[in-house]
């Protein structure tokens, strides 16, 4: 197993290299540059700036320079946030995004699987209809609607919770953004779990368990739910990566200093290094969580073995 993990990690390096390469040239293809203002700068100043940031070099050399720095863990200076390096920005922003995302992930997992399993076990009852109906609603309503509505209702009208802000990570400030992130995930996971549970309940080995007079808690708890959780585990890889690297919408609406905003802001401002940094962080998270999921999967399903 350790050998497998090491092989996968080694295999991740070329993957990330390819992602970095494509992203590097794609962002450069976009017209404009980080220092283009409405009123053009004096050519001499422009030249100085370009020289300072190595933008006067040919593109291939800039690319090699970037790779060299990346190998040393240096993501370069931010072009739009003067005096900050990209690593500085992530050092303060990433913990915030991870805190929000992991709370949302845990809540989504617990509630999603519980509701989904409950709906499946009471299939075609009112519980099932309520869960499925709410889940469909949860999937269809986008976060940019949920977020302001929650903020308006609980922050402004009721005044129970802060309508926005970070407050140094106090729980009161976390509740609304975490709820916004978690709700659609609860919906998706509930639907996944429900479908998988229904399928597992119909499977031949569950029929065997019932035919052998095993009590309901064994039939469901032992022989149904473990099989039903497998698709949820697969879904978790990319989802965890997405949640932990922050959400533009939630961070913007609630004014949270995470890294989710950087991707869009960086892209709009042609902040090449910031965009590249975000790409690298997201790629690393995706690779890592897919690995975690594969390991979890092997632990849950003995038919899957890596060696």
């Amino acid at each position: 197993m350790i050998g497998y993990v090491l092989r996968r990690l080694a295999g991740a390096i070329p993957t990330i290299f390819i992602i970095v390469t494509i992203a590097f040239f794609m962002i450069r293809l976009a017209p404009g540059g980080p220092f283009d203002l409405e009123r053009p700068l004096d050519p001499l100043i422009m030249e100085n700036i370009n020289r300072a940031y190595n933008l006067d070099q040919p593109l291939w050399r800039q690319y090699l320079l970037y790779l060299g720095n990346l190998a040393q863990g240096d993501l370069g200076p931010s072009f739009t946030r003067r005096d900050f390096s990209v690593v500085d920005l992530f050092r303060t922003g990433l913990p915030v995004s991870i805190q929000l995302g992991s709370m949302a992930l845990c809540i989504a997992l617990v509630f999603g699987t519980l509701l989904g399993a409950l709906a499946a076990l009471r299939q075609n009852s009112w519980i099932d209809y309520v869960v499925v109906g709410t889940a469909t609603l949860g999937i269809t309503i986008p976060t940019f609607v949920i977020a302001p509505v929650l903020s308006l209702v609980f922050g402004v009208m009721m005044g129970w919770l802060p309508a926005g802000g970070w407050g140094g990570g106090q729980l009161r400030y976390l509740i609304l953004p975490v709820a916004t992130l978690a709700l659609p995930q609860i919906a998706i996971i509930a639907r996944l779990t429900r479908g998988a549970t229904i399928e597992a309940l119909r499977s031949n080995h569950v029929r065997t368990a019932r035919a052998y007079g095993l009590p309901a808690y064994v039939v469901v708890g032992v022989h149904t739910l473990r099989a039903a959780i497998l698709p949820v585990v697969s879904y978790l890889g990319p989802t965890a990566a997405a949640l932990l690297t922050g959400s533009v919408v939630v961070e913007t609406i609630f004014g949270i200093p995470g890294i989710g905003r950087y991707f869009v802001q960086g892209a709009l401002g042609r902040d090449y290094t910031l965009v590249m940094g975000t790409v690298v962080v997201i790629a690393v998270f995706v690779v890592l969580f897919n690995l975690v999921v594969d390991i979890l999967y092997a632990l849950l399903d003995p038919r899957v073995r890596y060696d």
């Binding site: 031949n204 569950v206 052998y212 007079g213 009590p215």
Partner: protein, 536 residues
């Protein structure tokens, strides 16, 4: 029999609510099981034989409902609460299923699954039940049970999994073991072993066994009494011997007569060889060969086989699944890449490319096992069977094609008016007729029949066998008949090739092989498919 039955079913009715109204699967049947006897419930698919026992075990699908009475030792089983029912099922009445591959939970070791009924019926602790589970595995003939108890189901073969199911069924010393088509999904030689195991266990442990089966061979060999079911009703029941010797009901007579009979005469000695394969080899890579996964694994599916098919001849290719018989059939038609020389009417076609193979394709046709999967569901029957004509006779007018379609359908015994319908509107037997029509419409010389009757009920099998025979006579066809079903092969083929692990272990004229098999493997295959005629 003066004794009281231990299971007494009266007026059992099973119905399912569907969108098209209720469907009656079982219509008020009576059934008795006495202690220690072997009862067979026989019938074709859809006769309600499985639903009968599912109802007793409380395992009907959620839209199913059972009415009537089913007394187990004076306790009414129908309408019992789940909790009360759980005191009976898995303990006093146990069951093994048709699908050994999926009846065990893939996520748990077999030991745990064997222990569960022991523990949850309150007999033993987990620790003690493990010792008992090892005993049980030994009893059902699993080698090295102390080690195998920690195996996962996917690490066992189908036969072994069915043995584990049997061990589970025996765990609590049941009164009644219900075996729902216990061998249908297994290879013939394994079928034999499982049946013998069940029979010997029954003798030793003295429980009653209820066989649910469509296979009359099982009934003949193992059942004391027989119930014949059709369309949800018991049409006839009685002692097995009497019933086979003197069937009263037409349906029973039909079932008994449905065993394919007759023999195929060999072709004239001077009949030319049409298709010849020499040293045919097919090798599959089965993984490996990557950077990290070591040397490539290779499977020699067909390992140096020579075969010659003459005009009007039928060669039966028999062997267990995995013996390479289907692969050989496809390799001879050049549908799979392989080594060796293949000649059709004297011309070497083994190196012919797609374009050069085209004129030969119409002469070499193939009919598949699965009549449900091999017809495109989005094409009408007429389109399905005339598709080949578009390629091989492109000059044909639409009207002429249509006429050919009607002719072909008539030949396979279907109403030509059906050509505008879609495949899903037809039964399994009718679909197989359509597949045969698709092959013969091109007027081929050779048809490879890959298990063409295996997915069909016995009575339908017989009709298809007769159809194939008639077509052969009519058009002087040569068949390569691939099957694991020896009774069908015996009726169809004049020459038999027995395959094992990609090689021919024995070959010869059909009667010679069946009367005096030389190889142990052939004898095992035969024993497994005994066509015992004692009761005829």
């Amino acid at each position: 029999m003066a004794r009281d039955p231990i299971l007494k079913v009266r007026g059992l009715d099973v119905s399912f609510r569907t969108n098209d109204g209720p469907v009656h699967a079982v219509k008020g049947i009576d059934l008795d099981v006495f202690a220690g006897e072997a009862v067979a419930i026989v019938g074709e698919s859809g006769s309600g034989k499985s639903q009968t026992t599912m109802a007793l075990m409380g395992l009907l699908a959620s839209n199913g409902e059972a009415r009537g009475s089913a007394l187990y030792r004076d306790q009414e089983l129908l309408g019992l609460s789940e909790r009360q029912l759980n005191k009976v099922r898995g303990k006093k009445i146990t069951m093994i299923f048709q699908e050994p591959m999926t009846s065990l939970d893939p996520l748990y070791k077999i030991g745990r699954q064997l222990c569960e009924p022991l523990v949850h019926h309150g007999a033993l602790s987990w620790r003690k039940s493990r010792a008992r589970a090892i005993e049980l595995l030994e009893l059902v003939g699993i080698p090295d049970p102390k080690r195998r108890i920690d195996a996962y189901p996917h690490e066992l073969s189908g036969g072994q999994r069915q043995r584990v199911m049997i061990a589970m069924a025996l765990a609590n010393d049941p009164d009644i073991l219900i075996a729902d088509e216990p061998t249908t999904a297994l290879d013939v030689t394994i079928q034999q072993q499982i049946l013998e195991l069940l029979a010997s266990l029954q003798k030793r442990l003295g429980m009653a066994i209820v066989f649910i089966t469509h296979d009359l061979n099982i009934v003949r060999r193992f059942a004391d009494r027989v119930y014949v079911m059709r369309l949800g009703e018991v049409v006839e029941h009685g002692e097995a011997g009497t019933l086979f010797a003197d069937p009263r009901h037409d349906y029973t007579k039909m079932l008994l007569a449905a065993e394919p009979t007759g023999t195929k005469l060999p072709p004239a000695p001077d009949a030319p060889v049409l298709l010849e394969g020499r040293d045919v080899e097919v090798v599959f890579g089965t993984g490996g060969g990557g950077w990290f996964s070591g040397a490539p694994h290779q499977l020699r599916a067909v390992d140096g086989i020579s075969i010659a098919l003459r005009r009007g001849q039928t060669i039966g290719i028999v062997g267990e699944s995995g013996s390479g018989k289907s692969t050989l059939g496809r390799a001879l038609l050049r549908l799979l890449p392989g080594e060796g020389t293949i000649r059709f009417e004297g011309q070497d076609i083994s190196k012919a490319d797609r374009r050069h193979m085209l004129p030969f394709r119409r002469e070499l046709q193939l009919v598949f096992q699965d009549p449900f999967g091999s017809l495109s569901p989005r094409m009408t029957v007429g389109q399905v069977i005339t598709e080949g004509l578009l390629v091989h006779e492109p000059s044909l007018s639409t009207k002429a094609r249509d006429a050919r379609a009607s002719e072909a359908l008539k030949e396979v015994g279907l109403d030509p008016a059906m050509r505008n319908r879609y495949p899903h509107e037809f039964s399994g037997g009718q679909r197989q007729r359509i597949a045969i029509a698709r092959a013969i419409i091109l007027k081929p010389k050779i048809v490879v029949l890959d298990e063409p009757t295996s997915a069909l009920d016995r009575s339908v099998q017989k009709q298809i066998v007769e159809l194939l025979r008639d077509l052969q006579k009519e058009h002087d066809l040569s068949y390569l008949f691939i099957s694991h079903d020896l009774s069908v092969v015996r009726a169809m083929a004049d020459y038999v090739v027995v395959m094992k692990q990609g090689r021919i272990v024995e070959e010869g004229a059909t009667e010679a092989i069946f009367e005096a098999p030389r190889e142990a493997y052939t004898r095992a295959l035969m024993a497994a498919a005994v066509n015992d005629t004692r009761f005829r």
